[in-house]
């Protein structure tokens, strides 16, 4: 069957064309071993563990938020990790944000509402650098998408603070991290065992805290993921079904040709 062979050849060509782009993410790991955590949300039909994401939000608020902004998120978005409207209102009300100007034109402040963006710890980039030895703590809204290795990398980074090997020259004010490219990071180890207190009795080991915060950050980067996958199943099945139907119509129509 010549046409069949040509078709297969074409498919092969797509595969080869796609191959280089698939290999791109792998390049950065010349020496660094990326952990493979098998996240539930990375599975084909996987969803977020909402309890874990809620604990992760607590880790973010208590620890990360002291330096890292998440400016693309709004308090209202927290309904996505299963918080109730009342809880969200309470969380927002606990934060003081600028609220335009009063009737005399002076800047005004007040409690945030669910419609507000997450409040950033620093007013602007210069203030952030000044408070952090010249290093800029990156915004975490998209951090899981913005790093090679995604959640595995973030997990590796947060658990990767170890003693520098003998002979490794450290600059002042830098910390050794086995995951970070170049191994010198300006962020001191942010999480230890027991950095937060969970109300649901979950263990507060470093591993658990990091899993939770990574789950939260993964949700923050791709809040549409669960809806996307659910819709995807139906749409892909629909097109597969339509392929079958049109193929049957085609077979029948062409049965007299040849």
């Amino acid at each position: 069957m010549r046409p069949m062979r040509s078709l297969l050849a074409g498919v092969f060509a797509i595969g080869l064309l796609a191959a280089p782009s698939l290999s791109v993410p792998v390049r950065a790991e010349e020496e660094i071993q990326m952990p493979n955590m098998g996240w539930k949300f990375e599975k084909l039909f996987g969803t977020y563990d909402l309890a874990s994401a809620q604990r992760g939000f607590q880790v973010y608020s208590n620890v990360c938020a002291n330096c890292h902004s998440m400016a693309l998120l709004h308090y209202r978005d927290l309904s996505g990790i299963g918080l109730e409207p009342e809880q969200i209102k309470a969380i927002a009300a606990g934060v003081t944000v600028p609220q335009g100007t009063d009737d005399q034109g002076a800047p005004k402040e007040g409690p945030a509402t669910p419609a507000n963006q997450f409040k950033s710890p620093f007013a602007n980039e210069k203030a952030a650098r000044a408070a952090n030895n010249g290093a800029l703590p990156p915004d975490l809204s998209l951090i899981v998408n913005a790093r090679e290795g995604g959640p595995d990398y973030i997990y590796g980074l947060l658990t990767g603070f170890v003693e520098a090997p003998g002979g490794f020259k450290m600059q002042d004010g830098m910390y050794y991290n086995k995951m970070y490219p170049g191994h010198q990071i300006a962020m001191p180890q942010p999480l230890q065992d027991g950095s937060v207190e969970y109300t649901d009795g979950t263990s507060t080991s470093l591993d658990q805290e990091v899993r939770d915060v990574v789950t939260f950050l993964a949700w923050a980067s791709n809040p549409e993921m669960v809806e996307r996958k659910q819709m995807g199943v139906r749409i892909v099945l629909f097109f597969v079904f339509m392929t079958g139907i049109t193929y049957a119509v085609k077979r029948r129509l062409w049965s007299d040709v040849h």
Binding site: H74, P114, A115, D256
Partner: protein, 195 residues
Amino acid sequence: MADSSAAAATHHAPGHHGAAGDVTKRDLLQLIALAGAAIGGGAIAWPLIDSMNPSKDVLALSSVEVDLTPIIEGQGIVVSWQGKPIFVRHRTADEIKQAQQVKLSELLDPQAGLDKDRVKSGHDQWLVVVGICTHLGCIPLGNKPADPRGEYGGWFCPCHGSLYDTSGRVRHGPAPLNLALPPYAFESDTKIKVG
């Protein structure tokens, strides 16, 4: 395509070699395929159309708080809520009385027509309405002292001459409906929160 007799003769010509049963079976398959295409087309169109509806940030637009202390009796102010003008009017005792005496039968739009349904009880002096004429969306005049207020003492729409009374009810067309009431609540005696 099937509109053309010439085409109809052509399209199915080779298929006519088959038995009659084949033809009906093919028609059923074609029907399923066409129905599927129609469903698919509709399902694809909906997300595109829905993307033009208000987005989540627009829907979540925060409420607005209004301080009532600077509003002099007999005057009104305009504040913006969800992009719409909100009239907040400090009514005089005369205006309140005038508004309360109107009977439902006198109104063009008796829906929520009694004055007590249009203000918060205990705060009769404060009238809060959406300042958009129910005719074609112009903003009526009547908040500033120099504005014309029309013969019912409320608001006058400059576009087509609709008249509203001191309770924001339409008294003279072409507007068909009373000025709408926004959701609001008194936070204190001198502060309301719209939305």
